[in-house]
Each structure stands twice: as structure tokens, then as C-alpha cells.
């Protein structure tokens, strides 16, 4: 069998489909538990529906970007394996790099990985699987402990503990935003467009009481920001 006959074989499709169905069911279980707990905690159904609506709308655009990532991986890895990786565990930002490095270890580029025969595909799958497990194993062992610590911090009567909690968000912004801005002028302009659109919508919600807009701020800003990058690229790219 050739590299792609294995990569696109019905066995690979079958196994991938089984894992994806399991994760879909698990997601449904988590969703149901959270919904029920939300009701118990006193959130009205209306608010929970708004959370669901916001999550659905926001998910659309990044998910389409993930499908584009699938197209980038499929010519080198077949369809089912990238399908699994992008639906479960993987990240569109890292998968291409991971696959490329796995092929690189065999002295091949990702584009020419098929020349290594089906054994190359087996190696890439095993390497990509092993290397991404660290986070899940770490979460399995230490996740509950970390969450219990955070829960204690947030229930604390000490003001500074609440300051510490807010530091996680601030640190996240301090790491990711400068890295994005340092990439060039189109990145900066896209970031600023999105920021201004968000601020504008926040004003509409708070000052002009356009309350329905609150659920769409993130989605609108993302789409308008991304669309603006086309304009900035045409003008300056």
C-alpha cells in the first residue's frame, strides 16, 4: 500500500470518526451539566440562551479558519488524520508545525513525506500524538489541584487575592498583544480596527442602551477586524 492509500483508508476514517463521536458526546455531557448547574445557581434560561447564542455565533469564523487549516494539511497527511487533529486536541496554529517537524526528523519536508512510504505516515501519526499529550496528562494529574487553589483564592476575603486572579488575564494580554503588534504594520492596524470597533460597540451598549448588541460585540469585532486586514493589505501590503 502507498502512503496515501493508508492515510485515506477506511480504517483510518472509521477510527477517526469513533474518536470524534466520543468527543462530541462528551461535549454534550459537559454542556448539559453546565446548563443544569446554571439553572440551579439562579441564572435565568434567557441568560443561558444568550450565552449559547454568543458562543455559537463567535465560533463560526474561527471554525472556518480551522477548515482552511485542514486544506493546508490534507495534501500532505490525507483527510482523516488532520480532521481528527483539528477536531480533537490539536490547534490550527501548531498542527502544521508539528507535522512538518515530525517529517523533518525523517529527513523529509512535509510536502514530500509521502515519498517515505506508509511507514512515514505511521511515524508522523505516532510522533504527533505523543508530543501533544503533555498538557492532557498534566491536566489529569494536577488540574483538580490547580482549580481548587483558584476556587479558594476567589472565595477569599483578602483583596489582594482578587488582584492575583485578575493578573492571569492581564498577563495573557501582556504576552500575546506585544507579540502580535511586533509583527508589522498590518497586524497593528488590524488589531487597532478591531479594538476601536469593540470600543464603539461598548459605547452603543452602555451609553445608548443598545442592549442586544452586547451578545455580538466579540463576533462583530472579529469579523470587521479580519475584513479590515484585506483593506490594509491592499493599501500597504
Amino acid at each position: 500500500m502507498t502512503y496515501f492509500e493508508v492515510a485515506n483508508s477506511s480504517l483510518v476514517y472509521l477510527l477517526v470518526l469513533a474518536v470524534i463521536i466520543f468527543v462530541f458526546v462528551l461535549s454534550a455531557i459537559f454542556t448539559r451539566k453546565a446548563w443544569k448547574r446554571g439553572i440551579e445557581l439562579g441564572f435565568g434560561k434567557e441568560l443561558l440562551r444568550r450565552v449559547v447564542k454568543q458562543s455559537l455565533i463567535f465560533t463560526l469564523v474561527p471554525s472556518i479558519a480551522i477548515v482552511i487549516g485542514l486544506f493546508a494539511l490534507a495534501p500532505a497527511l490525507g483527510i482523516p488524520w488532520p480532521w481528527l487533529r483539528l477536531s480533537v486536541i490539536g490547534s490550527v496554529n501548531y498542527e502544521l508545525m508539528a507535522a512538518d517537524m515530525a517529517a523533518g526528523g525523517m529527513g523529509l519536508t512535509l510536502a514530500e513525506a509521502s515519498s517515505g512510504g506508509p511507514a512515514a505516515f505511521g511515524n508522523i501519526m505516532l510522533v504527533m500524538t505523543t508530543c501533544i499529550m503533555g498538557g492532557m496528562i498534566m491536566l489529569l494529574i494536577f488540574g483538580k489541584g490547580i482549580m481548587n487553589k483558584v476556587s479558594k483564592l476567589s472565595k477569599s476575603r483578602s483583596d489582594f487575592n482578587h488582584v492575583i486572579m485578575s493578573c492571569f488575564m492581564i498577563a495573557l494580554a501582556s504576552v500575546f498583544i506585544p507579540g502580535i503588534l511586533a509583527k508589522g504594520i498590518i497586524y497593528i492596524l488590524t488589531f487597532l480596527t478591531s479594538l476601536l470597533v469593540t470600543a464603539g460597540q461598548a459605547v452603543l451598549v452602555q451609553k445608548f442602551k443598545v442592549r442586544w448588541l452586547k451578545d455580538f460585540i466579540l463576533s462583530f469585532s472579529l469579523v470587521i477586524g479580519m475584513a479590515s486586514s484585506i483593506l490594509w493589505t491592499a493599501l500597504l501590503g
Binding site: S91, P118, C167, I170, L172, V175
Partner: protein, 242 residues
């Protein structure tokens, strides 16, 4: 009604069992394929390919757990199982917390984040499956230069949309002026990115250094009285059921 402790135990049990099964079946997929087709690599081949990747991914994925778990609570289980954390699941959960007006780290925030990540995960799985089914007809559309450009700039657009939410405290407990503790880390990371080494792709590891630095800065600023903690009432959007 379950007590907070009962709910926590139940959601942790579901999360950990789900995580364990996912780990096992994810390992089983390549092992079964390699066994059936007789394509197991030798240890040397495997090690040569895996060593570089392990050196990058192990610290990266571990640091992501340390950085994101405190913000997501039990939603972290599903977030790490379904992946695409920074480009989809975390912003989605943060947006949901903002809509509900809850404070990260509280049980209410954990519930909202779990609901949001659950819904987002199911929709992403459906959209990717549709992408696979409709691969041939939709590929030309998604390969258009304008679509590719817009996708390339998704992260700056995402962070532009999230920036105010990340820096501004929301919910029942508000930390006013907390953004000031991010000034020094922000400048430091900007200088490193521009003049020393681009940190793109290593953000998870960098966070391990920047979180303690931000807490240290906040301690100094808090002592000076430039950060205030305000205990507010429940947001008006939350309807309490009797």
C-alpha cells in the same frame, strides 16, 4: 439542588474520566493503524522525529495548562480535549463570561465557561465535518486570496476584540486599575519581540515567567493604592429563580 462541593466533584469526575478515555483512544488510533498495516517505526526513527517536537511541545502544552486552567476552571478539561485553545475556546469562554457578567475564578464563571466551551466544541466538530464532506466544492472559496488574507490576520483581530475585556475587570468583584500591573510585562515582551527574539509560538512558556512578574508588579501597585477591589452586586442581567 446540589451543593457547590457536590457539583465540583461531579464535574471533576466527568472531566478526568473523559480526559483519561480521550488520552487512551488518541494513542490507540495510530497504534491500531500501525499494527494493522505493519508500519510501526523503529525506536530510532521515532526518537529522531519526536525529539525536536518533544522539546518544544512538552513545555508548551504543560505551561498552557498552568496558564489557562485558573481562568477556565473545569471547562479546561473539555478545552484541552478539543484543542484550539487560544484561537477559539478561551476567547469564546471569555466572551460568554462577559455576556453573563461573572467574575473569572468563581463557580458561576466556571459554569458559564463550561457551557460556552461545550457549545463551541460541538459546533466546531460539526463545521469541520462539513468541511470534510464539502471539501471539493468549498475549497476554491476558502482559497480565495481575500479569505486567506483575512484568516492570516485572525489573531490580531481576535486580540483587538478581546483586549478591553482582558484588561477590564467584570462581575461581582471588580479589580479597578489592575491593567496597570501589565505595563512593565507588556513593554518587556514588546522589546524582546522586536529587538531580541520573536516569541511567536512560545507564548505558553513565556506566560510562566510573565504571570509571576505581573503579580509582583500588581503587589507594588496595590500597595501604592493604585489598584482597588470593589465588591459589587449581582449583575442586573442575572435573573434569580426563587
Amino acid at each position: 439542588m446540589k451543593t457547590s462541593e457536590q457539583y465540583k466533584n461531579e464535574i471533576h469526575r466527568t472531566g478526568r474520566i473523559g480526559l483519561l478515555i480521550t488520552i487512551l483512544i488518541l494513542i490507540a488510533v495510530p497504534v491500531i493503524i500501525c499494527s494493522v498495516y505493519g508500519i510501526f517505526p523503529t525506536f530510532k526513527e521515532f526518537f529522531l522525529s519526536a525529539s525536536g517536537l518533544l522539546a518544544i511541545f512538552v513545555p508548551l502544552t504543560i505551561s498552557e495548562v498552568i496558564s489557562f486552567t485558573p481562568l477556565l476552571g473545569p471547562a479546561a478539561y473539555l478545552t484541552f480535549i478539543t484543542g484550539n485553545i487560544m484561537n477559539l475556546k478561551f476567547p469564546c469562554a471569555k466572551g460568554a463570561m462577559d455576556v453573563a457578567g461573572v467574575t473569572p475564578g468563581t463557580e458561576k464563571a466556571d459554569v458559564i465557561a463550561t457551557l460556552s466551551v461545550g457549545i463551541s466544541s460541538m459546533l466546531t466538530i460539526i463545521i469541520i465535518a462539513l468541511g470534510v464532506l464539502l471539501l471539493v466544492p468549498i475549497e476554491p472559496i476558502l482559497q480565495l486570496p481575500a479569505v486567506k488574507t483575512a484568516t492570516e490576520y485572525m489573531l490580531p483581530a481576535l486580540f483587538g476584540a478581546l483586549a478591553l475585556s482582558l484588561l477590564k475587570s467584570t462581575g461581582e468583584i471588580q479589580v479597578k486599575g489592575a491593567w496597570k500591573s501589565g505595563i512593565v510585562p507588556f513593554i518587556l515582551i514588546f522589546i524582546v519581540n522586536v529587538f531580541i527574539y520573536p516569541l511567536s509560538g512560545l507564548e505558553g512558556v513565556v506566560l510562566l515567567v510573565i504571570i509571576p512578574l505581573t503579580i509582583l508588579c500588581s503587589r507594588i501597585i496595590y500597595k501604592k493604592g493604585w489598584i482597588k477591589v470593589i465588591y459589587g452586586k449581582e449583575p442586573e442581567d442575572i435573573e434569580v429563580i426563587e
